[in-house]
Symmetry: C2
Subunit: 235 residues, 2 copies
Amino acid sequence: MNEKLELLYEGKAKKIYSTAEEDKIIIYYKDDLTAFNGVKKSSIQNKGKLNNEISEILFKVLENHGIKTHFIRKINNREQLCQKLTIFKLEVIVRNVIAGSMAKNLGIPEGTIPPNVIYELCYKNDEYKDPLINEHHAVALNLATYKELDYIMNVALKINDILKIILDKESIRLVDFKIEFGKNELGEILLADEISPDTCRLWDKQTNERLDKDCFRRDLGSVEEAYLKILKRIK
Amino acid sequence: MNEKLELLYEGKAKKIYSTAEEDKIIIYYKDDLTAFNGVKKSSIQNKGKLNNEISEILFKVLENHGIKTHFIRKINNREQLCQKLTIFKLEVIVRNVIAGSMAKNLGIPEGTIPPNVIYELCYKNDEYKDPLINEHHAVALNLATYKELDYIMNVALKINDILKIILDKESIRLVDFKIEFGKNELGEILLADEISPDTCRLWDKQTNERLDKDCFRRDLGSVEEAYLKILKRIK
C-alpha cells in the first residue's frame, strides 16, 4: 500500500512515482536545488525533508481554509501521497512586495510595496525559459480556457490572503510565491506542486532577512538554516 | 495658425511640436526607421509622407466608426494637427495571427492563427526594452488604473474589429498592430500616435507578402514599395 511503483517524472527538486492506485502519486522531495533556469545547481542537505514538512503544513492550512489541494498525506520524511492531476503548463505567481524578476525587468527597487497585489502567469517551458505571458497567450497556447484561468486567479488570490495572514503571525513576510494547478479525472482544479521556501520569497518581518531560495540564488547564507527557521516558526 | 513652435519631443519616427494653441500639437512624420529597440537604423525616402497619409486615412476610418482619436487634420505631406494628450506609457498590441516577438518568445510558428484575439500590454520604456507586462504590473507602475486599462482594452479590440474588416476588403491581412493611448485635459482617453505599416503587420491576403516594417527588419525588399502598396489599396 502506498508504495512507489514507476518513476513518472523527475523534476529539478522532486520525483513523481506512480502507485498501485491509478489516481494517486507519490512525490519524493529531493535535496537538489537549481536557479536561473537550471544554470546554478547544488544539493542542500535535508532540503527535501524540510520542504516536505513545510509543504505538508501549508497544504493542511489551505485545506482547512477551503482550498482544494492535491495533498493527501505525508508518507515519510521525503514523500507525500497526492492526487494524480494533469498539470496546467502554467506557473502562477502572486506578489505582495516587488522582488526578483519583476524588480529586475521593470526597474523597480526590490522591497517596493505596490498599491495592488500582482498576479502573473508564466508558460512552464524550460526551452523558452518560462516566459511571462498573459491569459490571452495561455488560451492561444491551449494551456487553459479563459474560464479555467479566471478560476485559477481567484484561487491564487485566496491562497495569498490565507498564507499572508498565517505567515505574518510568525513574523514572516510573504513577498511572493509560485504555485501550480492541475485537474483531476472529475475535472476539478486543485492546487498542486509544493509550497515551500523553494517556491516562495519569505522575509523576516523585522530584519528582512531572506529565509528562502534567494539564500542560494544570491549566496546570502545557509539555505538549510533559513528553511529550518521557516519550519520552526510555522510548526 | 497651425505653425510649429517648439520641438517638444523627438521620437524614432516622429517629431512633436507645440502650436499657438495649448491643447494642440503638430506631429511631423520622419523618414527614419529603427528596429530591435533602435539597434537597426535607416532612413527610407518618402516613408514619412506615406505614413502620414496612411495614418490620416485610418484615423478617419476609425473616427467614422465611433473611435475617438487625437487626429484633427493633415496639414501637409509631413504634418498632422492633433490634440495634445498625456500619453500612457503603454504599448497596446493586438494580434490576429502569431508573428514577431510572440512567435519567437513562445515557440509558435509565424503565421499560426490562434483561436482567440491576443491582447498585450508592454511598458513603454527604452531602458528596459519595452517589456511585456500585464494589467497588474501597469497598475503597480502607476501607468494607468484598472478602469482605464479595461477601457483601453475594449477600445483596442473595437479598433481591431474595424481595421480587420476595412483592410480585408483591400486584400490585406491585419496580422497585428501596436497602438498608444493618451488622455486630454477633459480626462477623455483617445487613440494617439499613428497607425501605419511602421506599427502594424500587414500581409497580402493571397501571397502573405509582407507589406510592413518587417521588410526593413528582415530585409525582405523595398520598404517604400511595400508602404506605397498599402496606401494605394486603402486610398
